[in-house]
C-alpha cells in the first residue's frame, strides 16, 4: 500500500497552458508589485505579495495536483478542488490588491494602447459597478454553485472536458465576484455598508448548508458516474458522496463564518466609531482608493511623455538596455566575446564542410544535413524574434572577410549601380529554388560546397571592395536577418539624441584610432530600425560618449513610418528593398509549402502532365509563378485598389513599396512556424551524428550511434505555430492600418485598408493550411 500512497502523491497532471498562464500572471503581478512598493509601501507590503502568489498557487494546486487527477474517480477530491477554486483562491488573489500591480506589471505600450481606452469608457464603468454590486455577485455565486451541482450539468462536466473547463472558470469567476465586496480590494469603493456584508455571508452559508446537507443525507448516488468507476478499499459511491457533502458543509461553512465573525466583531468594537468617521470622510469625497490617484495619473503622464519622446526619437529612460546590464553588457560589448563566438561558429562551419565532403552522403547522418538546415535556421529565427540579429553578430564569414582584406587590395568602391538589394533578392530567390530543386537538405556534399562558396564570395567581395559590401549588398543570409530583425525586440540605437547633437567627432560612423566606425554606413542619430545593422557593435565601441546601447523597442514600430533613414532612405523609394521583402515573405510560404505532401504531389503531377524531364525545371516554373508573378500581381493590385479607394496621392509604386514593408511580421511568423517545426521535431538528431563522427575518428568507446533516437513529439507545436501566425497577422494588419491612416484621405482609411487586409488574410489562411498538412520530415531518419 506504500507504493499506492506514493503513486497518489506523484499523480500530478501538469498542463502546459494553465501553468504558463499562471506563471505569467504571477510574474506580471510581481513586476508591478516591485514598482508600486517603492511608491506606496504601506499598500503593497510583503503579505500582499504572499497572498496573491498563494492564490495563484491555490489555482495551480486545484488544476494540476492529484486532486484533479482523482476528481473523476472520487467525488470528495472533486469537491475539494471546487472549494479551492471558489473559497480559497479568490480571496487570496483579491487580498493582493491585484489591479494596480497587474496594470503596472504589463508592458506600458500594451496598457496605453489597449487597456486605457476601455478604462475610460463609461459603459465599462457602469458594467463594472453593476457586476460588483453585492446583490449581483451574491445571486451569480448562488445560481452558478447550485446550477453546476445539479446532476445533469455535473454529469455533463464529467463527460465533456470542455464543459469541465467552463465549470471551473465559472467557479473561479463567480468566487472572485462573490468575495469582491467582502475583501474590497484597494482601490475599489464599497457599495454596501460594512455591516451588510455579514448577512451577505450568512445567507450564502445557508445555500451551502442546504446543498451539502442534500449530498450528505441522500440515500442514493446523486451523480451516477461515480457509481460506475471502480471503488477503493473501504469506500463506496455513497460514502464518497457523504464525505464530499461533509467537506462542503464543514470547511465550506467555516470560510463564510470566519469573515462574518471578523466583520461582526469589528462592527461591535468601540474603535469602530473612529474608523467610521474616517470611512464617512472618505466616502463623502469618494476617495476609498484615493491614494491610487497620483500613482495612476503619474503613470498615464509617463505613458504620454514616453509617447512624445518616442516621436522625437529620444530613447526614454527606463527602457531595458542590454549593454547597461552590468557584466552582461560588458561581455556583449567586448570584442573578445564576439571573436570567441565567431571562432566557435567558424570551427563548426569547418567541421560541417569536412563532414559534408568526406562523411556519409545521407542528410540525417551527416552534420551538413542536420546542423545548417535544421538547427541553425531555427535558432537564428528564434534569436531574431527574441533578441535581435545574433547570427550576424556571430557570423563566421567575418574571418574570411578579414582574411580577404589582408591578402587582397580591398581599395575599390562597390559599383554604384549594384548598391541596391536586387542582387541579394535574386540570390535569395535562387537559393530558395535550388534548395528544393537539388534537395540541399539531403545532400551534405552540396551543402559543404555552398558553405565553401559562401566563404570564397566573402573573401573575394571584401578583398576587392571597401566597407562591408558583402554584408550590405550580397549576403542572402544577412538580408534575411536584416529584414526579420525589423520585428526584433532590441535595436542598436542612441541612448540620448541630445548627446549626438553636441557631438563633433562622429566616431560612430567615421571611426577613430582604436576602432573603426560603422562599415554599413549607418549614422546612429539618423538610424531607425535594425535594417542593415549587423550588430557588430563597432559603433558602440567607437562612440566617445558611450551613448549607444542595445535598447528594447516595440517590435516593428518603424514599419509604418517612412522617415529618411541613414543609408536606407525612404521605404517608398526603395523598390529593390520591397522586392527583397516580397521574396522573403512569399518565400516563407513557398519554402514551407514545398515540404507538404499535397504540394509535392501536385509538383509530381505537373511534371508528368507537362512532360518535363527534370524536377528543377518544374520547380523553376513553380517558383517563377509563386515568387515572381504572384507577388507582383498581388501587390500591384492592392496598391492600385488602395490608391483608388483611399484617394491616396502618390504613385502606385511608392504605395506598393510602403505597404510591402507591413508584410514583414507575417512573413517572419511563417519562417518561425516552419523552422521552429524542424527545430523541435529534430532537436536530438545531431547526437547520433556526433557519435558517428567519434566512431569514424576512433575516439571513445565502441558501439553504434543511436540512429533510432527520436525527439519526443510535441503535440502543442501546432498550437505554437498557429499562435505565431495569429500574432504575425495581427501585427501586419496593425501596421498596414497605420500606413492607411497616414496616407489615405480623411474617412477613407478603412476603404484603403480593405485590399491589404484581404491579402494578409489570404496569406494567413495559406499559412494555416500549410502547418496543418502532413510534412516531409526532412533531416530525420524515418
Amino acid at each position: 500500500m506504500e507504493d499506492a500512497a506514493d503513486a497518489v502523491i506523484e499523480s500530478w497532471s501538469i498542463q502546459l497552458w494553465p501553468t504558463v498562464g499562471l506563471v505569467l500572471l504571477a510574474v506580471i503581478y510581481f513586476r508591478g508589485w516591485l514598482k508600486l512598493r517603492r511608491q506606496v509601501p504601506h499598500r503593497f507590503d510583503g503579505w500582499r505579495l504572499a497572498s496573491f502568489l498563494g492564490g495563484v498557487a491555490t489555482v495551480f494546486l486545484a488544476l494540476d495536483s492529484p486532486l484533479d487527477t482523482f476528481s473523476n474517480l472520487l467525488l470528495q477530491a472533486h469537491m475539494i478542488q471546487h472549494l479551492l477554486l471558489m473559497m480559497i483562491a479568490p480571496p487570496l488573489l483579491l487580498l493582493g490588491n491585484p489591479f494596480l500591480p497587474l496594470l503596472t506589471g504589463l508592458p506600458r505600450p500594451f496598457v496605453r494602447e489597449v487597456i486605457r481606452p476601455f478604462l475610460l469608457w463609461n459603459a465599462c464603468k457602469r458594467f463594472g459597478r453593476w457586476l460588483t454590486n453585492p446583490k449581483v455577485t451574491w445571486i451569480l455565486f448562488v445560481v452558478l454553485t447550485l446550477g453546476w451541482h445539479a446532476p445533469p450539468l455535473y454529469e455533463l462536466t464529467l463527460r465533456s472536458p470542455t464543459w469541465h473547463i467552463i465549470e471551473h472558470a465559472c467557479f473561479l469567476g463567480s468566487g472572485t465576484l462573490f468575495w469582491w465586496p467582502v475583501v474590497q480590494p484597494w482601490p475599489s469603493r464599497p457599495q454596501w455598508p460594512e455591516w451588510a456584508i455579514i448577512p451577505y455571508l450568512l445567507l450564502a452559508d445557508v445555500q451551502n448548508t442546504v446543498l451539502s446537507a442534500f449530498l450528505t443525507f441522500s440515500d442514493r448516488v446523486v451523480y451516477p458516474s461515480y457509481g460506475l468507476v471502480p471503488q477503493f478499499p473501504g469506500m463506496n459511491p455513497l460514502s464518497d458522496q457523504h464525505a464530499a457533502g461533509a467537506i462542503m458543509w464543514v470547511p465550506g461553512s467555516i470560510f463564510y463564518l470566519i469573515p462574518a465573525g471578523i466583520l461582526a466583531m469589528r462592527f461591535l468594537s468601540p474603535r469602530r466609531h473612529a474608523a467610521a468617521r474616517d470611512e464617512l470622510l472618505l466616502s463623502r469625497s469618494r476617495v476609498s482608493g484615493r491614494d491610487a490617484l497620483p500613482l495612476i495619473r503619474s503613470w498615464f503622464n509617463t505613458a504620454r511623455s514616453k509617447k512624445r519622446s518616442e516621436e522625437r526619437e529620444i530613447v526614454p529612460t527606463g527602457r531595458v538596455d542590454l549593454l547597461a546590464l552590468g557584466w552582461v553588457g560588458r561581455v556583449i560589448r567586448s570584442l573578445a566575446f564576439r571573436r570567441v563566438v565567431q571562432g566557435i561558429l567558424f570551427g563548426l562551419a569547418v567541421l560541417i564542410v569536412c563532414d559534408g565532403l568526406f562523411g556519409p552522403q545521407i542528410g540525417p547522418m551527416n552534420l551538413a544535413g542536420t546542423l545548417p538546415w535544421t538547427h541553425w535556421r531555427g535558432l537564428s529565427v528564434l534569436a531574431l524574434l527574441v533578441f535581435g540579429n545574433f547570427f550576424c553578430f556571430a557570423c563566421p564569414f567575418t574571418f574570411a572577410r578579414d582574411l580577404g582584406r589582408r591578402i587582397l587590395p580591398g581599395n575599390r568602391q562597390w559599383p554604384r549601380w549594384l548598391r541596391t538589394k536586387w542582387v541579394s533578392a535574386g540570390l535569395l530567390a535562387i537559393y530558395l529554388w535550388s534548395y528544393e530543386a537539388f534537395s540541399l537538405w539531403n545532400s551534405p556534399w552540396l551543402t559543404a560546397w555552398v558553405i565553401i562558396g559562401y566563404f570564397v564570395a566573402a573573401i573575394v567581395v571584401d578583398g576587392f571592395f571597401r566597407g562591408a559590401s558583402f554584408c550590405k549588398y550580397v549576403c542572402p543570409i544577412g538580408q534575411f536577418n536584416f529584414v526579420q530583425s525589423l520585428v526584433s525586440p532590441f535595436e542598436v540605437k542612441t541612448r540620448n539624441l541630445d548627446v549626438c547633437h553636441t557631438c563633433k567627432s562622429f566616431d560612430c560612423i567615421k571611426g577613430n584610432q582604436q576602432q573603426r566606425g560603422c562599415e554599413l554606413r549607418l549614422f546612429q542619430p539618423k538610424k531607425e530600425s535594425n535594417l542593415d545593422c549587423t550588430f557588430c557593435l563597432d559603433c558602440v565601441r567607437a562612440c566617445p560618449h558611450d551613448n549607444i546601447g542595445i535598447i528594447a523597442v516595440t517590435p516593428g514600430r518603424t514599419l509604418a513610418r517612412d522617415h529618411f533613414r541613414s543609408s536606407i532612405g525612404r521605404f517608398a523609394e526603395r523598390t529593390d528593398l520591397a522586392a527583397l521583402v516580397l521574396v522573403l515573405v512569399f518565400g516563407a510560404f513557398l519554402n514551407a509549402a514545398s515540404m507538404t505532401l499535397p504540394v509535392e504531389n501536385a509538383l509530381s503531377f505537373s511534371r508528368l502532365t507537362l512532360d518535363l524531364i527534370s524536377r528543377p525545371a518544374v520547380l523553376l516554373i513553380f517558383f517563377f509563378l509563386v515568387l515572381g508573378l504572384l507577388p507582383l500581381i498581388a501587390i500591384a493590385g492592392c496598391a492600385l485598389a488602395s490608391r483608388w479607394l483611399g484617394s491616396i496621392t502618390g504613385t502606385v509604386r511608392s504605395i506598393a513599396c510602403r505597404f510591402t514593408m507591413t508584410l514583414v511580421p507575417l512573413g517572419a511568423a511563417m519562417w518561425l512556424a516552419h523552422f521552429g517545426f524542424h527545430l523541435f521535431t529534430a532537436l536530438l538528431t545531431p547526437i547520433p551524428v556526433v557519435q558517428r563522427i567519434f566512431l569514424d575518428l576512433h575516439i571513445g568507446s565502441n558501439g553504434s550511434p543511436w540512429w533510432s533516437l527520436h525527439t519526443p513529439a510535441i503535440p502543442q507545436l501546432l498550437d505554437f505555430q498557429c499562435l505565431a501566425l495569429d500574432l504575425g497577422l495581427l501585427v501586419s494588419l496593425f501596421f498596414a492600418w497605420k500606413v492607411c491612416v497616414r496616407l489615405a484621405a480623411k474617412r477613407k482609411a478603412v476603404a484603403a485598408f480593405l485590399p491589404w487586409s484581404v491579402l494578409l488574410s489570404l496569406l494567413y489562411v495559406a499559412g494555416i493550411w500549410i502547418v496543418f498538412q502532413p510534412m516531409e520530415m526532412r533531416g530525420m531518419l524515418h
Binding site: 497518489v8 499562471l22 469618494r286 498557429c722
Partner: protein, 212 residues
Amino acid sequence: MTNDRSTSSASQRADFDALPLRALPSPFVICHLSFVILLISFCLAGNAFADGGSVQLHSVSGPFDITLFAEPPVPRAGQIDFSALIQDAKSGEPVMDAVVTLALTPVKVHQNAQPAWYPPSCAVSAPANLAAVPLLHSGASNRLLYGATVEIPSAGVWHVRTEVQRGGEHASVEGSVDIADPFPPVASYWPLFLFPVVAVGLYVLRQHVQKA
C-alpha cells in the same frame, strides 16, 4: 478582513490629506475584475481531463479486478488515452507491480469513415503496434493506473483485450469499444483561429471607445 478597513485610520488620513480631492476613476473596478477573472479563466482554458475518462470495460478476472478507461470519454479515431486500474479482487487494493498489455483489433471499420488526423509534429513518432501496447504507470498522470496513448486509425467497432500478469498470476478482460468519427482538426484549434478575429474586434471597439 478588508484591506481598506484594516489600514490604520491615521494612515488613511495622511493619505487623504496628501492628495487632491478628486474621485478615483471607477473603471478600475472593471479592469481589476477583468484581469483577475479573464486571465485566470484563460489559464483554465488549456486544462483538460488527465487520463481516466470513461469506463470502457470492467470485470473481475482471476485474482484481479480490471477496469479499462478511455479518454476522451467518447473515444474518437485519432489519439486515445487508454488506462487501466488493476485491483486485487479480494481486498480492492490497487496492484502496482503487474505487467499490463492492451491489444486492439478492428472488428468493423466504418466504410467511408474520415481518417484520423494527427498534428504533423506527432507524425514523427512511430505508430504503436496495436496488437500489443504496453500500459505503464509512466504513461498515465494517475500513477495508480497503467496507461498509454494509442493512435486509432479509423472509426468503427474495435475489439479490446487487456492482459494482466503478475508473477505466475494471469488474467485478461476483453470486449468491444465503439470508436466514433474523429473531429475535424479545426474543431480542436478553433480558439486559435478565433483569436485574430476577437483581437481585431476589440481593436475596432477600442477605436470606437476612444472616439466616444
